[in-house]
Symmetry: C2
Subunit: 596 residues, 2 copies
């Protein structure tokens, strides 16, 4: 039987009782974490979101009826108690902030009983994911998930606080928008009033925030829910949250400046971590050449070395073929201390390289016993091989791995292997936060599939002034005023300065192979808006889920989202999506052949 | 030709230049509000979101090329200028914060030209709504809309600031949820991965926020986007924003306390308006009896008077029939000073009453010339009529209006007429903010249509302890722990204490005519969650759009939403909703017979 709390008022949360309260009466409410009877005294750990307080029920302090009630308490019962705070008679629990104290209870109410939960509410649960997600409301009681959610709430708050002080306005943009043919797949919403027409849920508020700049709002921010109907990976969700911003009358430096100060503010106040400014910057081409990634984890070395020149005279067909290709190269990484690796493990690395798009992986083992073994030994003179080892800084005990192909593939293969060894060899710590700006991205990216240049960022991205004269002669070499902010090997945000000049915009559409008609069809209201006076503007958006995941040192964004979906985009708790009533579909004028 | 702002950095927003800057150089950027050449000097009003600054272009201060460029400026051009702040040589403009100053420009760049906009960017536009909504990005440049949007941003910020200090966590709940058969019509989102299944966009985060309480998050807040696919009225939008909250271990007084302090904080910091606490409270039955509304505007009198007893012996069939009905009554309002109203106007009032559900409207005119005219004169003795006038406090010059029917209709008719006269006679001021709590709502509402009791708030609303023993004998008389917060005749928020005891919940479902199976089918995961230890909890949600509308003294919520939709739920700017490509529908496994 559940009791009401009529006449009782909580005085503290469990974890917020301090030694100042010793000797005083408190009223606490929460969940029974555990309960045990030891020599006629009942000990209960009472839990709420702030922590745990030990309760003592003893005959004499509490009346007989109360003691009997206490004897019935089981895990996850919800109770309210009144009692006096005292120093612990027993051993101090140093893990708890309240570990020196206990509350001797004089009055108890059971606010709600609880069945035995399907899994224990405890830190670092070993229960299967799908069971925990089905009972997400119980999973969310676990202290580690509670810390994550509280951190997320704090991050959102600090973000708003910082940008509010900086003169940003939080403006809401529509969720029921219009589908655009380019980009990822939209989630659609059938219109009842206009049968056959659909809204689309936003993939980002991109167009709206640019319109707000046209409207003179100057500085906009929004923590915006966004949607993409793509097949999910471990770090993707069908709905996700962006810290989305746009600024008028600014250039790259202004965006970087305010965001560096933001990140410093955020990490200081949310985590007590100092982010020294300025945050280092690396050009896109340096990031690719040195780390094989546009979001390099620079907390450890193992940098890529371009050995194209060193091997250019070797007979090894793989190297020769690669160097004959446009944008072909041979590059290597030196994995220190792994020279004695067994053949099976090396084979696995070769498999991984194939998975990353390479034809294979060449290697040299510099064993600790002084012997040298190379996968391509027969194609190279000893002199050539020694030159290669030297170029790689190879020493006894090292494993040298080489990829040879077009740059794009070489970078990807070695970049992936680098991350593999980072995790395998434990080269970094999760609480070592290292931000890095990636700048000077290429404006365009050649698409073999479409046989044309595509915008690397989006078609409104401003080219760098110093490269603009090459837009006809060598469009692939034009760099953009685009920037990504990376953290520990993850892209946590990105953006660009937008084109506000109609002549540059027209040229961009031309280079992208858009006819004027197509450009207008697709971006009509934005291009119309631009005709009436558009200010120079630039923006940036962070993936909030991923940022919080890294800050929380969690393994998955599912651990920082209260009610996440699984890989098939379903919610195991509510069982959404689900069939609906025929009447609902009739009203919308749509049919589902599947169900007929 | 648009120029870049390379090498220029804005020093101030226009409206943020103060007299401290006189004699100093500033760099301003913004839109040309207007431009005129007067005796060889060009005067330009430069506008940004902060205000307007007058610019002076004069040969000698600016070079010839610059002056020529300035001569080309037209409305809505975007420019950047450098110049020295000075005192105005001409007349001071007292309407502007910067009206004593001007900037003598030494350097000008045209950042973007502008075509002549389809309507002028000016305060209180007289342009047709549909034109303004099509060019919403221009409409949003108008200073009055900018003030509204800035206020909205400020309200959202202050809300988060207040509740953050109070220990609330902002937690995000899913947008892609599950359709529930009760309530308003859902917007549906077809699932691609599960053809034939649908997500529903949330009508509110109700279930999720109750689950978060079950999970121990203690105090939750969210500025949550919600969706209802209903036919739109002037103050409805298909998507709207709620300030949504839920608290654990609380009763009615706790919710009211924190929200009163919130409203005081909000109005003080957003508007400089003092809301004295405590906010008055009125029971639902008093609100209906005195004002004919559960969201009464109490800023003026004209209260309803129950004259059932006074007229019970009259021969007037309308009165007799009404009093013979269950819950029947005769009530009146006294419209001071309207006794000489013409017959046509009175007929209009009768029409209005019919529109509110009445069979008609009875009236007595107490003309200023001393004559008395009553619509039911022939059914009443002079004595009876005088008693009635006396009961109504009728004096020379008053108009007495009477409705006779079941209470529900009588309340509605007179409540509506009261508001009609408020607006007609200008009895209130928009900047006179008067909050009022409505409490002790009925738990249940009889539905003739369904022939059963329905939950007035929702089926988890807690009954008042003192009435619970009447749940079987007289369920209609049981009051609920539900509360609305009203402002100037609008409901701006509402909520309730939730049932957390399974026996009370079961009884509620029984009274509502839910079988146990049906209750479980509909609320399965919430009822399951409740089995594992649910705390007492309560919540409240504000309609943010309406609250900001009232604070901004705007006439429509469209004036406080950046990109609103019109009555047919379409967006005139983006033209959403719109047909999509066949491929998109194929992927979703749905067909649109309309389009085939």
């Amino acid at each position: 039987m559940a009791e009401s709390m009529k006449g009782m008022k909580r005085s503290h949360r469990c974890g917020e009782v301090t030694e100042q309260e010793i000797g005083k009466e408190v009223t606490l409410m929460g969940w029974v974490q555990k309960s045990r009877n030891k020599g006629g005294i009942i000990f209960v750990d009472l839990r709420d979101r702030s922590g745990i307080m030990q309760l003592i029920f003893e005959n004499g302090t509490i009346d007989e009826a109360g003691f009997e009630k206490a004897a019935k308490l089981r895990s996850e019962y919800v109770i309210a108690v009144r009692g006096i705070v005292g120093r612990r008679a027993g051993a101090v629990n140093e893990k708890l902030a309240t570990g020196t104290m206990e509350v001797r209870v004089s009055y108890l109410r059971i606010l709600a009983e609880a069945e035995t939960p399907p899994f224990p509410v405890e830190e670092d649960s070993k229960t299967r994911d799908d069971v925990r997600l089905k009972y997400r409301y119980l999973d969310l009681r676990r202290p580690d998930l509670q810390r994550n959610m509280i951190l997320r709430s704090e991050v959102a708050y600090l973000t708003r606080e910082f940008f509010h002080k900086e003169g940003f306005l939080e403006l809401e943009t529509p969720m029921l928008g219009k589908s655009t043919p380019e980009g990822a797949r939209d989630y659609l919403v059938p219109s009842r009033v206009h049968p056959g027409s659909f809204y689309a849920l936003p993939q980002s508020p991109q167009l709206f925030k640019q319109l707000l700049m046209c409207s003179g709002y100057d500085r906009y921010i929004q923590l915006a829910r966004c949607f993409r109907d793509e097949d999910l990976r471990a770090d993707r969700q069908p709905e996700f949250t962006q810290i989305d911003m746009e600024l008028s009358f600014v250039d790259v430096e202004d965006v970087i400046d305010v965001n560096e100060r933001f990140l410093q503010y955020l990490f200081k106040h949310a985590l007590g971590v100092d982010i020294p400014l300025p945050i280092p910057r690396m050009t896109w081409i340096d990031a690719m050449n040195r780390f094989g990634s546009d979001k390099p984890d620079v907390r450890f070395g193992m940098e890529l070395v371009d050995v194209s020149d060193v091997v250019k005279d070797s007979e090894f067909p793989v190297f020769r073929n690669a160097l004959a290709k446009k944008d072909g190269s041979v590059r290597g990484i030196n994995v220190k201390g792994q020279g004695d690796m067994g053949r099976k493990q090396i084979d696995k690395l070769v498999e991984m390289a194939r998975g990353s798009g390479a034809g294979g992986l060449a290697w040299i083992q510099l064993k600790t016993d002084g012997t040298v073994k190379a996968s391509f030994a027969k194609f190279m003179t000893e002199e050539q091989q020694n030159a290669l080892i030297k170029a790689m800084g190879g020493e006894k005990g090292d494993l040298l791995l080489f990829a040879a192909d077009r740059n794009k593939i070489v970078w990807n293969v070695l970049g992936q292997l680098r991350l593999h060894f980072r995790d395998e060899l434990g080269l970094v710590r999760k609480d070592d936060f290292h931000f890095l700006w990636i700048v000077e991205f290429p404006l365009l990216e050649w698409s073999d599939e479409e046989n044309r240049f595509m915008a690397m960022h989006h078609p409104f991205t401003m080219p760098m002034e110093e490269d603009w004269d090459k837009i006809d002669s060598d469009p692939g070499s034009v760099r953009a005023k685009a920037y990504d902010i990376t953290l520990n090997g993850f892209e946590v945000g990105g953006g660009s300065v937008r084109i506000h000049q109609d002549d540059i915009q027209e040229k961009m559409f031309e280079v992208l192979g858009f006819t004027k008609e197509r450009a207008w069809e697709q971006f009509s209201f934005l291009l119309t808006a631009f005709k009436y006076g558009v200010p120079p503007h630039a923006g940036l958006a962070y993936g909030l889920d991923r940022l919080v995941m890294l800050m929380a040192q969690a393994d998955s964004i599912r651990d920082v989202i209260a009610f996440p979906k699984v890989k098939d985009a379903s919610d195991l708790m509510t069982e959404a999506p689900a069939p609906v009533e025929d009447k609902q579909l009739e009203e919308l004028g749509i049919r589902v052949p599947e169900n007929e």
